[in-house]
Each structure stands twice: as C-alpha cells, then as structure tokens.
Symmetry: C2
Amino acid sequence: MKTRQIVLASRPVGMPTKENFRFESIDLPEIKEGEVLLKGLYYSVDPYMRGRMNDAKSYAPPFQLNEPFTGGVIARVTESKSDSFAIGDYVLGPLPWRENCIANEKDIRPIDATVAPASYYLGVLGMPGLTAYVGLMHIGKPKSGETVVVSGAAGAVGIVVGQIAKIQGCRVIGIAGSDEKINILKNEFGFDQAINYKTTPDMGKAIAEACPDGVDIYFDNVGGVISDAVISHMNFHSRIPLCGQISLYNNTSDATGPRLQPMMLTRSILMQGFIVGDFQNLFPEAIQHLSQWIKEGKLKFTETVIHGFDQLPAALLGLFSGQNEGKMIVQAEEKDPIPAEKRV
Amino acid sequence: MKTRQIVLASRPVGMPTKENFRFESIDLPEIKEGEVLLKGLYYSVDPYMRGRMNDAKSYAPPFQLNEPFTGGVIARVTESKSDSFAIGDYVLGPLPWRENCIANEKDIRPIDATVAPASYYLGVLGMPGLTAYVGLMHIGKPKSGETVVVSGAAGAVGIVVGQIAKIQGCRVIGIAGSDEKINILKNEFGFDQAINYKTTPDMGKAIAEACPDGVDIYFDNVGGVISDAVISHMNFHSRIPLCGQISLYNNTSDATGPRLQPMMLTRSILMQGFIVGDFQNLFPEAIQHLSQWIKEGKLKFTETVIHGFDQLPAALLGLFSGQNEGKMIVQAEEKDPIPAEKRV
C-alpha cells in the first residue's frame, strides 16, 4: 500500500524550520511473519527530538538524512501476521512518522485504553511520566518539607514532577512562560507558587522570595539563565536532576555562563544528567505509583492536541516557543481515533 | 605561659598576602579539669583554608578577624588534667595556629606514630587521604579498565587518588604544573600518563591523546580551563567527584566558562561536590584500606615540609603557586620533633 512519511530533509542550524522536513509518498511491502501493519493514531513530539536532528554524539542516535523521523506513536493494528497482536489492538512503540507503517511484534507493546486515555501512554504513563518519576524520586530524592523548583513546569515532564513533589510533602515552585500556564500550575495542579520568567525582571529575586528556605531540589528542564537564577539559591546537600536544556537546544555555538563548580563544591551539590532508559528496572514501580495516584485523583494530566499528520513538523517546532501545556501530541485524524467506549 | 599565635588580620581580596596574617603574643591560662596543654609539632596547610579567609557561606565556617587560624595540627601533650592523655602523648586535632595551646580532651584524638610517620595523620591517613578515598571510591566508583583523570595530581589528595585508582585496575592520567611533578607521578607513583598543564599548549588535544577511550572519572581538584579540557572528553555515564577548585579560589568575581549542563545531559554525567566530613561512616573502612595498602607497599606518600612556625603564612600561600609535592606541612622546629624510635 501507499503511505506518506516525514523525513529529515536537512539538518537545522539553530532553530529548525519547515524546510528541514519533507513529506514523501512511499510503497509499503506486504507484512511478513511476526509483523503487523499499523495505522498511526497519536504521535508524540518531544524536546529531545531536536538533539536527534543534529549529527552529534548523544544518548539518542541522530535521525538520518532522508530517513523518517521516529518517536513514540500509539497505533491500531490493521493487519497482523503476529500471534501476539490482532486487528483492532492498540499498541505503542518507537515508530516512524508514517501514516501507516510495518512493525515487528518485538518492537511494540499493547496498551490498555481502559486504564487511562490511550494518549496518556505518550505522557503521564509514558516516557515523560517515567522521566518525571525516576528523576525526582531516584535522583532528587525528595523529603517532606523540602523546597522543589521545577523549570519547564507546564511541560509534559514538569507538570508531573510538581505533582509528585506535592505528594511527597514538598513545597513546589514552578517556572513557566505564560500567565495562563502560571494560572493552571497554581489553580489546577496544586503548585505553591509559579513564576512567569517572561514577565519577571529579576528571576534571582523572585526565586529568593518564593523559596525563603532555599532550594533543595531543582528539576531542570530548560537550562540557561533561568537555571542560573535557581542554582544560586541551592542549599547545602541539594540535588539537581538534569532532565532537559530546551533553552539551549537551538544554540549554534557552545553557551557560556557562570562556572557552577565553586558553588557545587562549597555547598556539596549533586547534579546528574539522566535519561529515562537507564532506569528501566524502576518502570514497574513507577507505573504502579503513577497509575495509583491517577486513580486517587492526586495526579492530573493535560495535553495539547494538534490535529492532522501534516501538523507534525509545526507541533515539534511549537515546543521551542512553549506552545504546549502538558504533553504535546499530534492526533492523526480530525475525530478522536479511539472510540469513547475504549477510553476511561 | 606566653605563646605566639597567628591571627587573620584582614580578609584578602584575590590572592592573599602576608598582610592578611598577624603574629601576636598571648597569655595562656592554667589548664582546667579535662584539658591538656599542647606543643604544636606539625601544622597542616590546605587549599580549603583559602575559603575560610572569606566571610562567605561555605561548608567550613569563616575564620574570624583577629582570631587565630585553625587547622589540623599534630601536637605533644606537655601538661595534662585529662584521664585520657598523659604527658608525652602525640595527638591530632583541629587546633589554633599557636606554638602552644590548650585543648579539651574531647577535641583531640591520639595518634599511633608506630603505624606511620606522625605527619601522615595530616596526609594520607588524615583528611586528604580520606577525601581521596571517599571521593574516588564512593562518588567516582571506579571499575577495572576505566580511565581516571586527576587534576592537582601531585597534591596531597591527587597523589592518593591516582594510586587508589591504579589499585582498582584503572588507567590513570594526572595533571600537574611542573616537569618535576610529572616525573614523580609517572616514575614514583605509577601514573600511566601525566600532563604538565603549564607547558602544554592544547590541553584538549593532550587529554584526547592520553585518553583514547575517553574519560570515565574526572577527580577535580582545580577547576577552570583545565577542567573544561577534561570534561569535554567525558564518556557516557561518567562521574566527576568535585573535590577542589584551587584555580578559582583567589578570583575576585564569579568566573564564567562553558555551560556544562548540555553535555552532562546528553552524556548522563554525574557531578557531585562533596566534603569528607559527610562520609564519617566510611572512615573506618577507608583507614583500614589505606593502612593496608601502605603496609603492602601499594600506596606511597610524599610531603613537602617547611620548617618553622613563622613559615605558616608562606606555606599556605605556596599552595596557590603549586609549591608542594604531596602534602604541604609546617614543622614547628628545625629538628624533627618526634624522635626516630617513635617513627616507622
């Protein structure tokens, strides 16, 4: 069958543009034993994909020129030569950005759309939720009464970090880039304080006021000058799970800033870059806690849904101007592809 | 009795000078119950003392103006009203820079000068050796076959770090500031490679050549541009025990440099500032291993001994121009104050 795909047309210099993406029509072969044909339903766009557009050593291999982008996709099985999957099953996998694609049964896993909306498996019950859980709980190690600051707080990871920190009894301050985001962080997601970095002239002062006892954990999704302002208020024995640096992803030269080591030394601060894939042994524990908290109403989630496969490039670029609240996903079709009776 | 002391006359701006120190003569009162009178024998000078000359929040409280410096001192008991110490005993404690001083029995501990030279309790069996052990073994966590780079390699901590790393089966590269130091690191202390940063025009290239498999552990004693050169060659999942930043201690403004977080993120690097005092539960294990390795001839040590109490300020300042090989100590008297039969 014919299907469309989105390939990396060229590597971006600085901020990516639509010219870095190209739509193509290709022929899919017949599926073989152990394979399924899939129809893409929900496509994940995530900040880490920016790094994969570069040809640079990182934790995720670079996308290849003239090859399709890949990422987390929720799909429906439309043909099957696999004993594990039947037509109509909903699955999750790292899949190419194709409207239809072929996958080996080993590379996908079933999802249960009765536990939570299917798209949540790209968010709070997927990579971002697991990232929030392992980074906060196993690197940050929050203790009741501590102060936790989260940057990129209204993003897919940040919004979960803040709520888990509240569940752990911490005081939680979020940093985000619009008054609407500040509003939902405080009023819908229970953050104690939230700071709009775009309208705050002196972030250092704002952090000092919001954190009278200093900062014990800084869960960093953004980097750059926002992080400088937070890190100067870190306490002795504080921890910095380093999850993202979205403010720097489109820099064309190495950024400079204050040297952190003297302060990290004199205050015995820990900073750890991490990727969720290194903590797979913790996934069962994480999923159990996250599901339980969702069931108990303690953990809420939000998504920004863009409609139409054609919108994937725009959705990815939108992450870098903060156009998302919670998880940014692209829904392949106008109407919700998973029928209501399959959803919570 | 009358004795001399050295007090902080003024706080330095940038590099300290002799004007920041003042010698005074004071009267000591009679000792009370539970106290001893001590004669100072060996005085430790250490890089961390520079931080205590500032009036700034750090892990060690600032020295007070017009009050004596304090630090690790090996002393002999000359009068005792303590049941725990007799005249002639050798003790170690955090003591004031006085030729004679009074200490409470609770603030000093006996040393056994038959296990190792008494001054080693200020070095390999004291704070620097324990720092090397806990930082390398419990933050760096070396595995056989890994590559370890140590800056300040010929200092009291660095020289122990490198040898422990060799004992753990690692390839070890030291960075130091003179050809004489490079020579002893390679020929006396078993380092695989050593680099003189003062005569190496391109440190990044030198690190790349010395570490063809990248760097797994960077034990950092110096900071600044030397660290930049090493850190850009760190491997995935590498570790940076942050022990010292001597190259920056005399800066009068906050230093700037490359932002490390993007690299720490994409390579899952851990960096941890630490102080040895937070690892007291590991001291018995550390002392046992260090003593054993000394006994087996696997761990050697070296000292730079300056003679005369009057030389304490010059010895401390000498650390910042790298005048020491191994541990820098000041011996109060011209002749060795501990008789030969008490030493190994």
